[in-house]
């Protein structure tokens, strides 16, 4: 068996044993259910597209929660094992540093996917089954939400590894992880908004879309709120999507790049690091 699979399996098993999977799933499911059933109050039970409304609210939830969960899951991947002494031991085994990191990535991504699919999936199915007028496109949008949430999680797992490979102490890694989360999820958009206000919206037409691509959470938002017509009408981003002309494929590709670059960076830093 490949060392990558063995290490990934160990990560999954660890996360199941320490109740990580259960708590993340319950958290996501709990919030998804409350959004699905309480959040539909303003549109009423007879809204044309209840599932599309759920997609909009879940996308906003994901932007806050999934990066945080991913960072917390993965920030001590290397630095934690280094402190426990198991990293030193692992590297005396017939595995390369790249395999260690890739194995952990596959494992952590599997854990996060499990939580997202179970948590959101349950809420989605409950809403979809509860109403008759759900069309295929809403299901598609919902599937895309789950897929892109996993991708967003992957981005932040990779960023967490990069932190974990650079920093020498667990506490510092946790601090930086929280900082990155604040920056990407809260401060960046506030800053962007500030710039828009200060320039009276006269920010360069060609620059603005790229500023959104520079933040993975904004890519996620753009993707989910503009990819499907019926979602777009509920998201209030119809205006924006007219301005920002990125195809869905391009947005997915950008997220993938955001995932692979930090992962590659983490491998490079980890390889250079002396133990």
């Amino acid at each position: 068996m490949s060392p990558v699979i063995i290490i990934a399996g160990k990560e999954v098993r660890d996360s199941i044993r320490n109740r990580w999977v259960v708590s993340a799933t319950l958290l996501l499911a709990g919030l998804a259910f409350s959004l699905a059933f309480l959040g539909s109050a303003p549109t009423g039970g007879s809204a044309a597209e209840p599932l599309a409304v759920v997609v909009v609210s879940l996308a906003s939830l994901t932007i806050f929660l999934v990066p945080l969960i991913a960072l917390m899951l993965a920030y001590d991947a290397l630095v934690g094992e280094a402190e426990r002494g198991t990293l030193l031991l692992l590297l005396t085994y017939p595995v390369t540093k790249g395999q260690v990191l890739l194995g952990k990535f596959v494992g952590h991504l599997a854990v996060l996917s499990l939580a997202i699919v179970l948590g959101y999936g349950a809420a989605g199915v409950a809403v979809g089954m509860g109403t008759e007028n759900v069309n295929a496109q809403s299901w598609q949008a919902f599937g895309a939400l789950i897929g892109s949430s996993i991708l967003l999680g992957g981005v932040f797992i990779a960023i967490a590894y990069l932190i974990s490979a650079i920093v020498r102490e667990r506490g510092a890694a946790a601090g930086i992880a929280i900082g990155i989360w604040l920056l990407c999820v809260v401060l960046y958009d506030m800053g962007l908004l500030g710039v828009l206000v200060a320039t009276k919206g006269q920010i360069h037409e060609n620059l603005f879309p790229w500023l959104l691509i520079a933040n993975p959470t904004d890519i996620f938002r753009l993707f989910n709120l503009t990819a499907f017509d019926n979602v777009r009408t509920f998201s209030g981003l119809a205006g924006l999507s007219g301005q920002v002309k990125f195809s869905s494929t391009f947005l997915v590709f950008s997220l993938l790049t955001w995932m692979l670059l930090p992962l590659l960076g983490a491998v490079i830093v980890f390889r250079k690091r002396e133990l």
């Binding site: 160990k10 320490n18 002494g85 198991t86 030193l88 031991l89 590297l91 085994y93 017939p94 002396e274």
Partner: protein, 306 residues
């Protein structure tokens, strides 16, 4: 020295903050048990890391099993077992699950893990979570992990900490059996007296330098530490006069006289004491212990560099 297990040649290892090793050379033949001694920070762990290929030397050459450990193919690592100094295994997994994980990475079957756990006396605790293990049990789990595969070289960093005397004996019995199979074992420990009976070779590091390398009896001779004689007598002064020129008196307790003499002069002093007849009620001889030898090499700078 083509059949040597490890060959270290003038190795220097600098870290940004300090010099961990400074010109160390040594050669280890197969099938011996080597004790690595030295203070904390003397370079013991760094030497082990170099042998494992976890770090590269700043200067000099390391050859293990005929290869450079830092660039050798991955299969090379199957032949080496390692027990780090402070290793904390994942608490939530059971002992057998933890060991199986490492076994898979070395391409070994679960059956071998059951066997190994029995060998280190953890058969009954195999299905318990590592969280419930005592320090000694964790240490034994670590040892079982090091024995996975068919190691030709075992590097054990402080392997006996946390083991009670019985387990320690059992530990050395396992080491002895491995040694008889031709496995080279290098272990660092602070419990010097127990190493005495178990090791063929002692290596003493001090501040990154190799200050002594040899069998313990050879080191003892080399150190030429004095023998201490504790004489129970009613008249310490008379005994002191009598031994003049052979042994030096040191302050003793009531009714006792303590004398110090060279190892070579021990018998002459004893014969002289015997001549005193009834005046000497009892004589106790204290040979220099391994601790003394270690202290001699580990601290006394002038003596060594002279």
């Amino acid at each position: 020295m083509s059949d040597a297990i490890c060959h270290v040649e003038a190795v220097v290892k600098h870290y940004p903050q300090h010099r961990a090793l400074d010109g160390v050379s040594l050669t280890l033949p197969p099938g011996i048990c080597v004790a690595l001694l030295g203070h904390n920070g003397a370079g013991k762990t760094t030497l082990m890391k170099l042998l494992l290929g976890l770090t590269r030397p700043t200067a000099g050459r390391v050859t293990v099993l005929g290869q450079n450990p830092a660039t050798a193919p991955l299969a090379f690592r199957r032949q080496i077992g390692f027990l780090p100094e402070n290793v904390i295994f994942h608490d939530e997994l059971t002992g057998i699950d933890t060991l199986t994980y490492y076994a898979r990475l070395k391409g070994e079957a679960r059956e071998r893990c059951v066997q190994l756990l029995a060998q280190v006396g953890l058969a009954e605790a195999a299905k318990r979570r590592v969280k419930t293990y005592s320090k000694g049990m964790r240490q034994r789990l670590g040892l079982a992990q090091a024995l996975l595969g068919q190691p030709r070289l075992l590097l054990l960093d402080e392997p006996t900490t946390g083991l009670d005397p019985m387990l320690r004996q059992e530990f050395y019995r396992i080491i002895q059996a491995l040694r008889n199979q031709g496995v080279t074992v290098m272990l660092s420990s602070h419990l010097l007296t127990e190493l005495e009976a178990q090791t063929d070779l002692a290596i003493i590091l001090r501040a990154g330098k190799l200050v002594a390398c040899g069998s313990l009896s050879a080191l003892r001779e080399q150190a030429n530490l004095p023998v201490c004689l504790q004489v129970t007598t009613t008249d310490p002064e008379k005994v002191t006069q009598h031994l003049a020129g052979l042994a030096v008196a040191k302050p003793g307790t009531m009714g006792q006289a303590v004398f110090v003499c060279a190892v070579s002069g021990k018998m002459a002093t004893l014969r002289r004491l015997a001549l005193l007849g009834e005046l000497v009620q009892d004589v106790e001889i204290q040979m220099p212990s391994l601790d003394d030898v270690y202290l001699h090499f580990g601290q006394d700078q002038e003596v060594n560099e002279a």
